[in-house]
Symmetry: C2
Subunit: 344 residues, 2 copies
């Protein structure tokens, strides 16, 4: 019987305070995962440093530190331990070994980074006021906030799969010459992926002036820099231009209230050519707002970091987009997110 | 299918990065539980404020804040939600409703309090050096550290069950007139419980000068203050006296290396009368050090907060206590801890 099954059985049989204890100390789980990624322990184990003495030597760390961390990660089921030797769990092998093509360790810099984590230092006060207590009330929406540099640096890896999904859903390879507006481009991965799949696609990327260089560098690395245009500034203020075939709104609406989302979508509608499409990537919970777990939990990040953002349901998005002039919206799964395609 | 089952199935079927994502953001779980306890939301729901508008009114909080927090706690399975109405899970009803006799919400002040949480701000460095990075290297072992006041204030509730278990295991009611040494007494609950069960038991409580007032106040409330003596100071330096029937060492050894534990236990041995017993309460992992989950995870708290503490196995305790002069040690379950009785 593994640890999770054990806990769950206990949970079902009779209540104990164990899960409350574990939840109140869950910041230790985040710290342990972040430390293991920073020390690149998973890669070391994959490369054969599978005992505490070998790991300590390979990572120039104390054996006590490495042993306690690896045992803890074994309890969390990211490692396995047998006869004092550690090995990677299947998910650690795929996503936490730096030599794996699906490595996602880089996202620790954003997800467990200081800006996002500090937004939860006084969540009680955020619940009372109904919004972030960060940075003079604007939170992550403060112009040119440095957390979006951290985001652009860290989160590109998580976006490759949904970017490929968008490329397929919109049929980018069949579009021929086209203009793509990439709003809040961040790392730029979404527009860049479309440009890679269609050599006649031209990307116009909107983001803060301090963030666009990250997208520019990624466009250069992908060999699409000559079709990558920059529109620096506030997405609500800056001039988008017009005649776009596609507008990408990836993980952006959740930062704002519904009225603000509708206003932005009206501006997007005006920038699209007839028959153009807006493509939204979002955490979209079911109507009950408590499932599926990742999408539903995401509203909490918005409470901690924004004045009035949210994880919207599909029916809420449908209404906003209809109010903004779009004729219809279709929803596609891209776990843990959804892709919504809206037609002008 | 509930959220946990869903995740687990996904976990078994094919690896996704979801659990890595959730672990890196697990500090949000701790913050949410702490906020709900500070706002006393569970009690409000138990008392019938089971919708977001009623909860917001009852707790003078924003409806958006309350709704996002309650939905999040539903995802974590501490609440249930049906037709927009929240109710408590069985464990929340028993342990998080302030009107329940088993309420443990007070422990949030210590477990998710600033001292313990900040010890994990730079865990990577703790792993490298093999010990805490708090307070000039002594961490929670720094004389008169204020985190032990927080501990004494918050954690008494968690100690009632193991304190009753100790009272029964040592047969305190049959001991008649007896002297009990309570080392690192903290809130004082262990000695006080023995004194409550035996009107001829006299308690001698050792702790820092800034912590003992918490134990004194609890002794007064329990009506045993006239049999409660204080020995302020460092347990390794201060004079215990002698002729004790029992010595209590509850959640203390884990802060030190094995040599230091053995040294202390030798001092305890000298303070006991012939036939006296030392009673240890500890998180004791199995020999594999990765099970059961709570006991095994506890080593991580020691890495974050102490220079060289640990969660010791029973065989390690047996050896230390034998080296200190005890003839034999017996182990009893007191989940998630164990009680070890050692005979002089």
């Amino acid at each position: 019987m593994d640890a999770t099954t054990q806990q769950q059985d206990a949970h079902e049989q009779q209540p104990t305070p164990e899960r409350i204890f574990q939840t109140l100390t869950a910041y230790q789980q985040a710290a342990a995962m972040k430390a293991a990624i920073e020390l690149d322990l998973f890669t070391a184990i994959a490369e054969g440093a599978n005992t505490t003495d070998k790991l300590a030597a390979s990572r120039n760390a104390a054996e006590r530190g490495v042993r306690i961390l690896c045992d803890y990660l074994t309890v969390l089921q990211f490692l396995r331990k047998e006869d004092g030797r550690y090995s990677l769990s299947p998910e650690a092998a795929v996503f936490l070994d730096r030599n794996s093509p699906a490595y996602v360790g880089g996202m620790a810099g954003f997800l467990a980074g200081e800006h996002l984590a500090h937004a939860f230092d006084n969540l009680t006060e955020s619940v009372r006021k109904g919004g972030t207590t960060m940075d003079a009330q604007q939170g992550s929406m403060t112009p040119e906030h440095p957390m979006w540099e951290e985001f652009a640096r860290s989160m590109a890896v998580m976006m490759r799969m949904p970017a490929e999904a968008i490329a397929e859903i919109v049929g980018i390879e069949q579009l021929g010459a086209c203009k793509v507006l990439d709003i809040a481009a961040g790392h730029g991965v979404f527009g860049i992926t479309l440009a890679r799949h269609n050599p006649q696609a031209e990307i116009h990327a909107v983001d803060w002036r301090n963030v666009l260089p990250f997208a520019r560098r990624n466009a250069e690395e992908a060999g699409v820099a000559e079709r990558f245009r920059e529109i620096p500034g506030d997405a609500f203020e800056v001039e988008f231009g017009e005649g776009y075939d596609l507008a990408l709104l990836t993980n952006f609406f959740h930062h704002f209230d519904a009225e603000t989302c509708t206003r932005l979508m009206r501006k997007v509608h005006a920038s699209l050519k007839d028959g153009g499409r807006a493509v939204t990537l979002e955490f979209v919970p079911e109507e009950d707002r408590v499932s599926p777990p990742v999408a539903a939990s995401f509203a909490m990040v918005m409470l901690g970091t924004t004045p009035s953002g949210d994880a919207y349901t599909f029916s809420e998005f449908e209404r906003m987009f209809r109010d903004a002039g779009f004729s219809r919206s279709e929803s596609y799964p891209a776990p843990p997110s959804r892709i919504i395609v809206s037609y002008k």
